[in-house]
Symmetry: C2
């Protein structure tokens, strides 16, 4: 094959994927049965979660000395303290989840009757609102996937690792909540298979359009699914670059330079400290949390789950005190859709600063803030005709106890301030998606909002 032919084929292949995703996104009907299916899965067995005092935790305990909440095996995760030190600012201490393992969040794709389908899972997590939400094909911790070779694997995991892996459509390490996790990332993958795949009762093939329909429902598509979906498709380098035709849009290098500037400005040192050394916590038999009552506290839960084999366990969870808000302001320009992002530092952010939504008030909530962030009033006061997307969506129910946030996409109005603070920048949606595909550049709240924006019916022209 000549070079040009191969290159052309590769471009066609990338364009082809974009077209196939678009075809799959147009098929939106039939999603209505999914909530019933989730309810049916819940009824099919015994699933119970209740809050318990810390004293009733099994295999979890407060380590002598440090007071860290740890598992007897030394695995899973631990809840520790974190000290954040920044030039010219007072030290900041808080509880943090330390989970040094990178898990796999994977969605399996397959062409069925000529249309791409995605294998989604009815996934139970103890902290979930509604217990079952729609998750990716696989949510595997490192412990899950390293023991696969001993024959005890997570279902469908073989499609994501090792010899049987299909065609990788997206694959990057993505961060999770920087207010709660210390540098945590998961590997986000979409893999297409051409093999026969058995559909287990907990799994169902859905089109992209069906999943998108479900994204409009409160607390139904889980965080793990949303972050993986936000990574599709991948126009960078392989395909045409729509942003290249735009006059006002920054180049990727300009964005990188801006991020570099912000990273330098927000430089800080994070030190893990014993949880017992975190000041200002109120500690009771069943809750440890900031005395100001604003941020998340640590609680414990007992879980019973299963249909044929019933298992039970106990575990700590983080309980948010207030509902948060993540809002993205968008606009249409001659060159396409642009989104207003900010460069945001959070205590556990992997690389100092990540691209975040226009407004992100998920740690302290968004009401009664002493120092409200820019654009908060703009997004909260947007008239209904400018609200493109609104829903309550849950954060990872394996770590958070009933934590949901209000996700909002608002179209900028004509009076929208043209002078931006240095923390904010307009960016073509396509460019933001390139940065998502790079991994570790866009925070989980922004990735969720990109998934939401993409979920809008194609005829609205937002994605």
């Amino acid at each position: 094959m000549t070079q040009t032919a191969a290159h052309t084929e590769r471009r066609h292949s990338a364009d082809h994927l974009v077209r196939r995703l678009a075809d799959s996104a147009r098929l939106r009907t039939g999603a209505g049965s999914v909530p019933d299916w989730l309810a049916e899965r819940r009824r099919s067995g015994t699933f119970e979660v209740r809050r318990i005092p810390f004293a009733e935790l099994r295999q979890w305990s407060f380590a002598p000395g440090s007071g860290n909440l740890v598992h007897d095996s030394g695995r899973f995760f631990s809840i520790e303290g974190l000290r954040v030190r920044r030039d010219g600012a007072a030290d900041w201490v808080q509880p943090i989840i330390h989970q040094p393992e990178t898990g796999i969040l994977g969605i399996l794709a397959k062409e069925i009757d000529g249309v791409l389908h995605f294998l989604m899972q009815a996934k139970m997590e103890p902290g979930n609102i509604g217990l079952f939400q729609l998750g990716p094909t696989v949510q595997a911790t490192r412990s899950n996937y390293t023991k696969v070779h001993r024959g005890q694997g997570t279902r469908y995991l073989e499609h994501f690792i090792g010899q049987r892996r299909g065609r990788v459509l997206t694959d990057a390490l993505q961060s999770e909540q920087g207010d709660s996790f210390l540098r945590k990332r998961n590997r986000n993958m979409v893999v297409e298979t051409t093999e026969d795949v058995e559909e287990h009762p907990d799994h169902r093939w859905l089109t992209l359009g069906q999943i998108n329909e479900l994204l409009t429902v409160d607390n139904l598509v889980n965080m793990d699914a949303r972050t993986v979906l936000s990574c599709l498709p991948l126009p960078f380098a392989d395909g045409p670059d729509p942003s290249a035709a735009r006059t006002t849009a920054p180049t990727d290098w300009e964005v990188l330079s801006w991020l570099t500037e912000l990273k330098t400005r927000h430089e800080r040192t994070m030190t893990r400290i014993p949880l017992s050394q975190v000041d200002g916590l109120r500690r009771s038999d069943d809750e440890i949390g900031p005395a100001d009552g604003r941020r998340a506290s640590v609680v414990a839960a007992s879980v019973v789950a299963g249909n044929r084999e019933v298992t039970s366990w106990t575990q700590p969870l983080l309980a948010a005190r207030r509902q948060g808000l993540a809002a993205l302001v968008v606009r249409r320009t001659e060159g396409g859709v642009e989104v207003l992002v900010q460069g945001l530092t959070q205590p556990g952010t992997f690389d100092t600063v990540e691209l975040a939504p226009t407004v992100q008030c998920v740690t302290d909530g968004y009401t009664g803030l002493d120092d409200p962030p820019p654009f908060l009033d703009h997004v909260l006061g947007a008239p209904p005709e400018r609200v493109r997307y609104t829903a309550l969506l849950s954060e990872e129910g394996g770590r958070f106890h009933r934590r949901d946030n209000h996700y909002l996409v608002v179209e900028a109005d004509d009076t929208f301030s043209r002078k931006l603070p240095p923390s904010h920048r307009w960016m073509p949606l396509h460019q933001l998606k390139r940065f998502i595909a790079l991994g570790s550049h866009v925070d989980v709240e922004a990735r969720t909002l990109v998934a939401c924006l993409q979920s809008l019916p194609p005829e609205q022209g937002w994605a």
Copy 2:
């Protein structure tokens, strides 16, 4: 201006930069006076460095309890211990430099008589072989550049930050030696000015060709200059993408997926520990180092420096016991130059794995290794006609005591193994440069080798 016109202009501007750099690279004559100039700068004042016992350190001391070597001010850097924990492997402990500040390494560019010149500095560092080496315009720590507004700045720094900054040609955070530094990065910048710039006796305008000539001289162009040079130019997104025409070359996404796989595989937890808890160190009055005598040890130095105003200080340095080797295997393909890189984990690597040279033996040296790395024999045994570049180059003399490594670029021969270990991959040079421009993806040894490869006379066709 129409969108297309602006886009065309932007592409022209990027192409134009590449052409201007090529023009500057062709002017290689006149570099011969630079070693004399460095020697003259050294003779112009008093410059003395000598090893001292730790007890003679001023303002530096071993902290009670931790035994960490720290500065009284709590600033600059400290020498501490690091524990690295990996699944299924024994814990690893070692001394490490903790320097949470990001400095600026900046080269100022300016067109003189129609040709781009770069303002290079005769830079004294206590650990330098020869004391003075050729550095970038500016090597500023965060302490340097945050006090600029109080009027005590580093010379020429105003061109890199704040209102007077010129046109940014490259700007990214780049890692430093992962065997010695914990997650250290510096901001690498090239900025072009059109202002009049006064040439200080310690600074001199050189063409890219002159700097490239000097790169063939042992221990002359310092590490800071090399890493900044490796970032030029920036064809990504703005300009044409020569690698896109190649058949066998991986796409950027394939490389990212491969890196993600390696990062997941090499996952580890790093914990800062007291230096006193690092086992296996031999501690004497003037040296602390591994008992096996292979890796670097901590020493102390007294420095007197200055011409008009003479200053003196003491500081710790890391002394390497053995000379290291960093070698890049290259080949010509129909599509252009390709380089053989590996994904390498080092204890202090910012993000688990970085792209590294084909062979990197800088920590333990390269002779008498129990477990020699792949391709070591290939590069050491290469006949002279296949050696494209060879020189001894120094690492950062502000932290390392006379540490130089052998840098080698070798052309692959016909017998070169086509089956690569999973750690290694052929990559177009252009693609590697895109990953350099992203920041934090390519290690400092590989960046140096890219600068060396680019320094070869243009008629050889390697860059």
